[in-house]
């Protein structure tokens, strides 16, 4: 069974998934960040594949992507860095990024490499469900990689039902009509949306992402889902002074304690 599916089978609440940008802050931090996240007790890790034009991202991830590319990260190099990642973690690992670098790499080549490396899934915001089904699904199935779909507050109910019916792993529920970025609190309309979404009783587990930054927002999100994803706030914490392990353990500790 795919590690993502296994996670959701065994854990139903308070799942914490952390996103970071590969190659940031330093080119060779990728493995150290994964190791420390694993030790700090997160449930899943999303490894950002930097892209020059991340249209779904807010300022923090835009900047980390730009810096990572400047540092020299590439998809090829990322696969090299991750060649022995399965010696340091058993957590589900997901690649998150944009379609063009994957398309350029060659989709089959990419999925083959993912499977060799031990990557369990992908989140590619600008690969729409329809294009995925038309051209990509058979290859994903062949390599047992899960492609995770997004749901936004704009997604109509009948489309949510459709996406739920074909989804594997989990649904990535975007918390707000905004690009990625951290907020300190969810407002009433967001809470109403979480509740409405939760009441649909979908078959696929769901994680809430975008705008989660601290214990308050994490707990709010968890009330209406199986867990939540933190990205921008974590990346910002990596800019703090001090040794990487300490920063990471402090950050995760504040969310979880």
């Amino acid at each position: 069974m795919n590690r993502i599916e296994k996670l959701f089978k065994t854990k139903k609440k308070n799942i914490l998934s952390i996103y970071f940008t590969a190659g940031y802050p330093e080119l060779n931090h990728t493995l150290s960040i994964i190791r420390e996240l694993d030790k700090s007790g997160v449930d899943m890790i999303e490894i950002g594949m930097p892209f020059s034009d991340p249209v779904a991202d807010g300022p923090v991830i835009q900047r980390s992507s730009e810096k990572a590319l400047h540092n020299g990260i590439s998809l090829n190099l990322l696969f090299e860095q991750l060649a022995r990642v399965r010696e340091i973690t058993n957590l589900p690992l997901i690649f998150m990024g944009y379609i063009n670098p994957v398309f350029k790499f060659g989709i089959e080549n990419f999925l083959h490499k993912c499977s060799e490396t031990g990557i369990d899934g992908t989140i590619i915001p600008d690969l729409p469900v329809e294009e995925y089904r038309k051209s990509y699904e058979p290859l994903y199935e062949k390599y047992n990689i899960l492609n995770i779909f997004l749901i936004s507050p704009q997604t109509p109910n009948e489309r949510i039902t459709y996406i739920d019916s074909i989804a594997k792993g989990f649904l990535y529920m975007v918390s707000t009509t905004a690009t990625t970025g951290a907020t300190n609190n969810f407002d009433d309309s967001q809470m109403t949306y979480f509740k409405k979404f939760n009441d649909l009783n979908l078959k696929t587990p769901k994680l809430i992402g975008f705008g989660i930054s601290n214990k308050v927002t994490f707990n709010q999100a968890c009330d209406y889902s199986n867990g939540a994803i933190i990205g921008s706030a974590f990346i910002r914490s990596l800019d703090e002074n001090g040794p990487l392990p300490e920063i990471i353990h402090r950050f995760i500790g504040q969310i979880r304690d």
């Binding site: 892209f51 020059s52 034009d53 249209v55 779904a56 807010g58 835009q62 730009e66 590319l69 590439s74 998809l75 090829n76 944009y98 379609i99 063009n100 670098p101 994957v102 398309f103 350029k104 790499f105 915001p125 600008d126 690969l127 729409p128 469900v129 329809e130 294009e131 779909f149 997004l150 749901i151 936004s152 704009q154 997604t155 109509p156 975007v174 009509t177 905004a178 690009t179």
Partner: protein, 397 residues
Amino acid sequence: MNETFISDKNGYYGEFGGAFVPEMLRQNVESLRAVYYNIIESAEFKKEFNMLLSDYAGRPTPLFFANRLSNKYGAKIYLKREDLNHTGSHKINNTIGQILLAKKMRKTRIIAETGAGQHGVATATVCALMGMECVVYMGETDMVRQEPNVKRMEILGARVVPARCGNKTLKDATNEALRDWICNPENTFYIIGSVVGPHPYPDMVARFQSVISEELLTQLSGKEGIEDPDYIIACVGGGSNAAGIFYHYINRKNVRLVGVEAAGEGVNTGRTAATISVGEPGIIHGSKTLLMQNEDGQITEPYSISAGLDYPGVGPLHAWLAKTGRADYLNATDKEALTAAYELIRLEGIIPALESAHALAALGKLNFKKTDIVVVNISGRGDKDMQAYIEAKKMFK
């Protein structure tokens, strides 16, 4: 090879096109896709659109026989004078169409991206006309080199927001506009300035711009007794003025269609915007097309003296016209464009936009027969480029 040049229901021209948008934008794009065709093909819409094109934009634009230019190149050269439109370029054709559509869809806030500022000015203009809020994203580099247009937009009541990522040009402005649309899905209509972006934009913008070739059919019959010229030449940034003047001729295979991209300092110098020459298939701003990218699939920074052509992608229609061989794509360097601009200025007394000057630069690259009828689309006027022309003046006594 399947050679239809109208996109299919999913927005594909052959292998190019589609709507590669994140789920957060899907509903915006889908609600536009669901209604655009029926609205813009309705009699009521057409009546209003055509009224504004004639009474507000000043259409039809003249077709001018350029006598001295013709003598120089040994062919019968006509200029389609899009530069004489209100606001100074073909961009107004599209913004009038899209703002009418936005009104029909009850949107209250307009956003746009702009490179040279011509699309931004054309958008700010129709927003003033319709009393709508207007936000224009523009790369910081472009705000400097096209400063007069920044001021024009601001005078018209638009807010111009600098894009500060990447090379700070058209691509980066488009990213910012897309992000704005993600954040404001309910009230906002995104007026895209070229035949780029997710379906239905490439098809919709081409339809609005097709008025150019529709007029050309009758104007040329009037002057030459035939509808079909031998050549049609237009510059290609995203490709909207070219799509507009090619539109009604695409299935008339005896007409040679020539698009001209910006070579910048030269196609092989790394400082270029000639996407069709150096690009490879990929996905940019919601559509599968040719784009300039490195071996890692990162979009590379284009360069051209002309802000309106300084874009690393190209509309999917053009990627398909190039692939099928239906149209030929040439390119012109900064220097060739400046030379061609001065030539038009001194031979015909017309100061073209730097973008349009690239189309003129192709005249010296084609072998005409004396009897050939050649139409060059003068997509815009050069007021915004006076600084570049003044700096180049010493080259052309």
